[in-house]
Symmetry: C2
Subunit: 337 residues, 2 copies
Amino acid sequence: MGIREVARRAGVSVATVSRTVNGVRSVSPAIAAKVWSAVHAVGYVPNTQARALVSGRSRILGLIVSDITNPFYPELIQGFEQFAVQAGYDVLLGATNYDPAIMATTVRRMIERKVEGVAVMTSEIEPSLMEQLTGRRIPLVFVDIGPPGLRIGNIQVNYEAGVRQAVQHLYRLGHRRLAFIGGPSDLKSAQLRRDAFVRCTSAPEWMAARPLLLAGDHKLEGGFEAVQRLLSAPVRPTAVFCSNDLTAMGVLRGLDVEGLRAPRDLSVVGFDDIHMAEYTIPPLTTVRLPRLDLARQAFQSLMAGLEETSAPGSGLTPIETSLIVRGSTARVEPAAS
Amino acid sequence: MGIREVARRAGVSVATVSRTVNGVRSVSPAIAAKVWSAVHAVGYVPNTQARALVSGRSRILGLIVSDITNPFYPELIQGFEQFAVQAGYDVLLGATNYDPAIMATTVRRMIERKVEGVAVMTSEIEPSLMEQLTGRRIPLVFVDIGPPGLRIGNIQVNYEAGVRQAVQHLYRLGHRRLAFIGGPSDLKSAQLRRDAFVRCTSAPEWMAARPLLLAGDHKLEGGFEAVQRLLSAPVRPTAVFCSNDLTAMGVLRGLDVEGLRAPRDLSVVGFDDIHMAEYTIPPLTTVRLPRLDLARQAFQSLMAGLEETSAPGSGLTPIETSLIVRGSTARVEPAAS
DNA sequence: GTGAAAGCGCTAACAG
DNA sequence: CTGTTAGCGCTTTCAC
């Protein structure tokens, strides 16, 4: 079943089989044909382990996400895996579930498997863990976080563009009192989203009523529970901006429980534009973060890091966000303001 | 950085390092201590490739799913991965996206990586592909499908229990005219769900009005589009049973577009009980399929297949489904019947 | 209890 | 263009 068996059947050396299978040009067509037929006869499949051992290349890429249960990630994973497989790589997935301990074992697993690069699409990674990777000259790529450096890619997301559009959209609809439901406090991406929101609502026209900032967790639960706090505010906001779509969906549900509904009683804006955002009731107005671009940049940055020739951070243009208007936002009712 | 370096530093042979790291008893505590300190000093991490090559064990399990975008699967993947990692395995994920061609390349990738077992949580697998796996004595486990055999596990799901409860639930609420929205026609699990539904609605009390069977795709889109066909039926059903929760969510949205809503205008029942089912508007009455049980059985079956001693099919008790009543079903309005 | 040595299956010089 | 050979890093007999 191994390469020797194929060589024996084809009446050639193992080197020739290896060359044929790997598409090295210098094999005569006649011999190549014999080798291929032997390959098919035996059902030969090269042993990746052996290959990796001798070549020093595992052809595995690590992908670390925080919450595989958040629909944003599967959509991202799918894209990343697609690029990877196209280039002959397999993906080793790690879901940390926001837990630093799991993050540590995940990094360990990746090192053991000799991954050739790691895309970290999650919360802050401990410096010591990062050094384990960089110390082994493994290219890394982060979103929003991480120090730049050789073999370290940093994907920038222009949150502000989308957030500004959303805030203006709400302003034009007559909203003057906003709320914001954030994500996990230690998640840099969540901080940046909130910061962008705070900045966009620092313009003079918003000075009359400062926005209400509420805590969330980027899960359905967090949005659901935030509704209580939102409704009991001294001055009830007329619109809420959520740090991700899952949170917004939780809000929608929370409103329903109170006998309220968007956008009549409260305008709701999400963030991410997961596929499902089009199917909520009402469909969600949200800021789109293009997942496929994210996946592509992460993959390309890793590949660049492997080349060694170019700095992987370079050539990365920030990912642009943009507002998608659907049905969860509306002109504020005079009665409600 | 390799085992030799550790051996040199600890002043022992590589064999002793290997034994220490692998916890073989026959290493004296004194020597073991020296080895471990050398291991930490160097930051030694065993090379899985080399290990796999010599031991013939890759410690990788394959997991094939059809649609990673369907929230049911991430929840399943998470469970499966957890069991695997606990036992020292990594998971190679394959998402076929319902495409037989992708399935073929996925199986190939798994063979190349020398996976020790494959869990197939998706549509029918071509016999030739399956033989590639079984011919290499790789344990397999299927849900709903696949011929039983040595090293082949078959997880059975008792769909009928949950479906019967759901149908009875609807009957008691006064519904007499039902509809069913199915899944992909070539997906065995979808067929079984539909069959269970048909069987449960073959009792005498349902003879007056045969259910309306509609096609779907287990996606939001399918449910959404089915609403049109459902509403234009000569006799409009008062309740619809969906082959999965995503379909049901699509229906909810489809109704909303028509200015209708569940359960007032149509009772809706889903299938799977994904986490999100609790957060739809209204929350979804659905048949729960315990994901963690599924993940556990899949994993255990694979482990049993590796033992060789026991037939992996044995010891598997069918997975039970049960009705979870939430807000998307209600007593049929006299006016609507 | 510990070490020496033989490979696991493959690729990549280096000869021919 | 093809064959011979030396390892990749590790585990595992087999001696000691």
